[in-house]
Amino acid sequence: VEAGSEVAAENDDHLDDDLILRVGRGDRDAFHTLVERHLARIVAFAGRVLGDRTAAEDVAQETFLRLWTAAARWRPTGARLTSWLHRVALNLCLDRRARRPEPPLDDVAEPADPAPAGPGIVHRREVGEVVRRALAGLPDAQRIAITLCHFQGLRNIEAAEVMDVSVEALESLLARGRRTLRERLRGLAPALLGDD
């Protein structure tokens, strides 16, 4: 993470803190702003954990409802809202998974993507689908670790906090998950890199 992006992240945190304080006073406009700032990221996270867009949207809605309810107790002491949202969303995802058996991979809903498909895009989509299935086949903890660090862009300490594991344990989960993916996806990458 470059210094500039760290400064930008810190400014984002301060903006989140201000918005949460307003939400705590019942400011619905501030809540709407917070939702718009974080919704796509939380849906994407829950979608990768659950493999289902509708379920991901349900989890996101419940996550933000909890934020609305708890905002009056927020104290700007350095906790990042993004970490808190990911932690709540992850708990909701795991609760959901515990209540309902995981659907077979073939039943996992396709992500919405209305973009027109040229030849290169079709190829990329096909590869993306293969990779998505490979990810879905990983043990939960490894997939969640990769999702938090690679796709969600959380720092290692933040991801470890969300998963309630040590940084060393997180690194081990990441390494094992990526090693498995590398084995399963061997041969795909050169074609992908040629696309770019």
């Binding site: 849906v43 867009r53 927020w74 350095g78 990042r80 998505r132 470890a160 940084v167 390494a175 992908l192």
Partner: protein, 186 residues
């Protein structure tokens, strides 16, 4: 100058975080880049990690419905639930006033009529609201008074940084200080 990094540690980092230095632990980034600059083996390892990164980049995001945000806002209750501490705060203001009034009654009960009797009636009414307090000083032992002195929520059972829990880390360098026991590499 960054401390020298071993090839094994660089491989651990590449295995866990991939080829992009932006994803590496900040405290080790400079040392890792220095090793990459002088080691062809390290560069080959990084290229292999970049191949997997490219595969992962091909996975599309799950995109929410365009109206989901508006639906979430519309589905929330009119006001967020207020925490119980607010009620304690209001009570905490009343208790010392009532205690002072009760103390005045206690001290003045042998005073002859005509020296502030009206005030005594008023403060007696206030004291009646605190029907469990037999002596004026009992108010100082009341749980509400003790609780109201502590503005911070209890730390027991809280995780650092969790909503509503105090976070001792308010310094700039959160990455290195939030979990000092857990993060020798962070």
């Amino acid at each position: 100058m960054a401390d020298a990094m071993s090839q094994a540690r660089l491989e651990d980092i590449l295995d866990a975080y991939g080829a992009d230095p932006a994803r590496w632990p900040a405290a080790e980034r400079d040392a890792a880049l220095a090793l990459l600059a002088r080691s062809p083996d390290a560069r080959a390892r990084r290229a292999a990690a970049a191949e997997l990164d490219a595969c992962l980049a091909a996975v599309p995001d799950v995109v929410p419905a365009s109206d989901l945000g508006a639906r979430i806002v519309a589905a929330t209750p009119a006001r967020p639930a207020r925490p119980p501490r607010r009620a304690w705060r209001r009570f905490a203001v009343l208790v010392p006033l009532a205690a002072a009034a009760a103390l005045a009654v206690w001290l003045g009960r042998d005073v002859p009529r005509g020296t502030g009797g009206g005030d005594a009636v008023e403060t007696a009414a206030l004291t009646a609201e605190l029907d469990t307090l037999e002596l004026p000083t009992d108010a100082l032992l009341d749980v509400a008074v003790v609780d109201s002195l502590d503005e911070d929520p209890p730390t027991f059972g809280c995780r650092p940084g969790e909503l509503g829990c105090p976070d001792l880390d308010s310094a700039d360098d959160r990455q290195s200080r939030r979990f000092p026991r857990r993060s020798p590499h962070a």
